[in-house]
């Protein structure tokens, strides 16, 4: 890499500029966020009644992974390993998946306001998930949610494109219409099936909640993140090529149509899996990618993994707040993310008006 022996000072300086000063900070940010994520997982598990320490959490983790003997009482170990750890891990995976989905959607649709929640995917996924739960075939849960997300995305795009060119504003309005209808359908299905506390259950699906997250939820969300999110990371350079639009991407050798449908399908799959374990948690896909762009710029090779890391950390803490702020009562975590995300959305609208 540094084999340029006869490089003049001038060339070296330009090469420095060409390398862009961002490539180093991106790697540094990756390390910082990874450390923060690991720390967040451990610390978030300690928070709440029972007075656990980070040491307790480590002991429990090590014991369950087969390193060392259990030192915690079964009750405290149960709180760590059966109650909080799966919930925190699910929060991390869902946050990462939604942030990644948002970053990809923003690039593919060239719409800074794109987000799985705002474009209706999350509501569609909720409908799919709720139908399957009512029918009692929960094994199909993530797939039904995926199908719901895909149907909602289809509606949104058709609605946005029906009156001509797809614009960011029209897409968001179409998403609003679609998510309103799908949200209402979710509520109707739950109310009609009327098992237990319908209102609470409706809230959990519409605003999102990780209250019931156990190890199967971890398996679904982490599995989707690895199986779908992992390959999506490989699209970074292709997404960069979309910066100047479809024609420009095509001229750079990108198969535009195939890429768009593969990536939108991938984000629908990812969103579906996440919503099936958490309900539709909003704004993560909007807020985190924009925050990360401020740190490292818009290059997707940094943006995608860092958005995922930041989304994981963000949702861990949002969920920790949701379960502790009004302890022993729980807030749907979507209320926290909306409190943060709504204002960010407003800022983006103001800024995009100034641009156009």
């Amino acid at each position: 890499m540094t084999k340029a022996g006869m490089t003049t000072v001038q060339q070296a300086r330009e090469a420095e500029v060409v390398k862009t000063s961002r490539s180093l900070p991106a790697a540094v940010w990756a390390v910082i966020l990874s450390v923060l994520l690991a720390a967040s997982i451990v610390v978030a598990v300690t928070i709440g009644p029972a007075g656990l320490t980070a040491g307790d959490v480590w002991a429990s983790i090590l014991a369950h992974l087969g390193f060392g003997d259990p030192t915690l009482s079964p009750l405290r170990d149960g709180i760590v390993w059966q109650l909080r750890m799966p919930r925190v891990l699910t929060a991390a995976a869902v946050g990462a998946g939604l942030a990644l989905a948002g970053a990809i959607m923003q690039a593919v649709t060239r719409n800074p306001l794109a987000d799985p929640y705002l474009l209706g995917l999350s509501s569609g996924a909720s409908v799919g998930a709720v139908i399957v739960l009512v029918l009692g075939v929960s094994i199909a849960l993530p797939f039904a949610a995926f199908a719901g997300a895909l149907v909602a995305l289809g509606f949104t795009l058709v609605l946005a494109g029906a009156a001509g060119r797809i614009t960011p504003t029209r897409t968001v309005l179409a998403g609003l219409a679609v998510s309103s209808v799908f949200g209402a359908v979710t509520s109707l299905i739950i109310f009609w099936s009327a098992t237990g506390d319908s209102y609470r259950e409706i809230l959990n699906w519409l605003l999102g909640s990780l209250a019931g997250a156990e190890w199967p939820a971890v398996a679904i969300s982490v599995g989707a993140l690895l199986l779908v999110g992992g390959p999506l990371l490989a699209s970074a350079r292709t997404l960069d090529a979309f910066a100047f639009g479809d024609a420009s991407a095509a001229a750079l050798g990108v198969n535009v149509d195939r890429t768009r449908w593969l990536l939108l399908g991938g984000t629908a799959l990812l969103t579906g899996a996440m919503v099936s374990v958490s309900g539709s948690i909003g704004f993560i896909g909007l807020v985190l990618p924009h925050a990360v762009r401020l740190l490292t710029g818009p290059g997707h090779r940094a943006l995608l993994p860092l958005s995922a890391l930041a989304g994981a950390i963000f949702l861990i803490w949002a969920d920790t707040a949701a379960r502790t702020l009004f302890d022993p009562r729980e807030l749907p975590v979507g209320i926290i993310t909306a409190l943060v995300g709504g204002p960010v959305f407003a800022v983006l609208i103001l800024r995009s008006r100034r641009i156009s």
Binding site: M1, T2, K3, A4, Q11, E14, A15, V17, V18, K19, T20, S23, R110, P112, A234, S235, A236, R237, T238, D240, A241, A243, F244, G245, A247, S248, A250, A251, L252, G253, V254, N255, R293, G297, P298, G299, S352, I355
Partner: protein
């Protein structure tokens, strides 16, 4: 059709046709542009110039016809290979993203880079050279959205050059530029062509085509109505026929190339008036 001699080097279009929404946009276009030539694609608005460039770059697919460059059919070439062969400098290139000029030009390296490969020192050097070639080395560290129209045009051209193409397609490279930037953009394209790059630029200004191009292709309603060297193609009759305006074709006193002067007027009145007399034309 098949007995025509196909040049093995350069661009060759054979009966290229394309329709959009049932409307014929490109209607059986034949073009021959030798390697290293600067071709100007001219014609009225809506003649199909941009579409033809998109068809050559396979951004849109021709319904029929052959598009061959240096003996290889472009539409069937693998995408990445094609993007290393043909580059397009778009007319109005803009992004909402906050990219530096280097980021933008580095996009031109996309067809040379794998999904996970980092930009190498070679890529950085190509980007630097591309910026230098368009006289924009000093813009490297600027943010793209802070650039003027002329600067953007240069950077867009640099991005296309960073693809290291053999064929460069430029759509209205002088659009929105002041006269100085227009002329420097055109002389840059002419210089690139002299360096061996085959250049095809859609131009609005017939005067520019006359002054800079080696080869002029006149497109009207999706058909080639004339093609050849500027002096033989750009006649008062052709201008009247294609654009419906009167024109006088002079000799440029400084360069010896054709120089066009225009006057509005009804075609009927114009039929008698084409003249090489400078005073009466002005």
């Amino acid at each position: 059709m098949t007995d025509a001699v196909q040049p093995t080097s350069g661009l060759s279009l054979d009966r290229v046709a394309f329709s959009r929404a049932g409307r014929v946009i490109i209607d059986g276009v034949d073009v021959t542009l030798p390697r290293g030539a600067f071709g100007a694609l001219v014609g009225p608005n809506g003649a199909g110039k941009s579409t033809l460039l998109h068809l050559i770059a396979s951004i849109e697919r021709a319904a029929s016809g052959g598009i061959v460059f240096d003996g290889a059919a472009l539409p069937t070439m693998p995408r990445r290979e094609r993007a290393r062969t043909v580059a397009v400098a778009e007319q109005q290139s803009d992004t909402e993203l906050d990219l530096s000029v280097v980021d933008v030009v580095m996009l031109g390296r996309t067809p040379h880079l794998g999904a996970f490969a980092s930009a190498s020192a070679t890529d950085a050097a190509v980007v630097r050279d591309a910026l230098a070639a368009v006289g924009a080395a000093g813009l490297a560290a600027r943010r793209f959205h802070t650039l003027s129209g002329g600067e953007r045009q240069r950077v867009t051209l640099a991005r296309a050059l960073a693809q290291q193409p053999s064929l460069l397609l430029a759509d209205e490279p002088t659009n929105h530029l002041d006269i100085r930037s227009q002329l420097s953009a055109l002389s840059l394209l002419a210089e690139l062509a002299r360096g061996g790059l085959t250049v095809l630029a859609a131009l609005h200004d017939l005067g520019h085509a006359a002054a800079y191009a080696d080869h002029v292709i006149v497109l009207a309603e999706g058909r080639v109505v004339a093609a050849g060297d500027p002096a033989t193609v750009l006649t008062p009759e052709l201008v009247l026929d294609v654009y419906g305006v009167r024109a006088a074709v002079l000799r440029h006193p400084l360069t010896g190339r054709p120089l066009l002067a225009f006057a509005e007027g009804s075609p009927a009145a114009a039929e008698t008036s084409p003249t090489l007399d400078l005073e009466s034309s002005l």
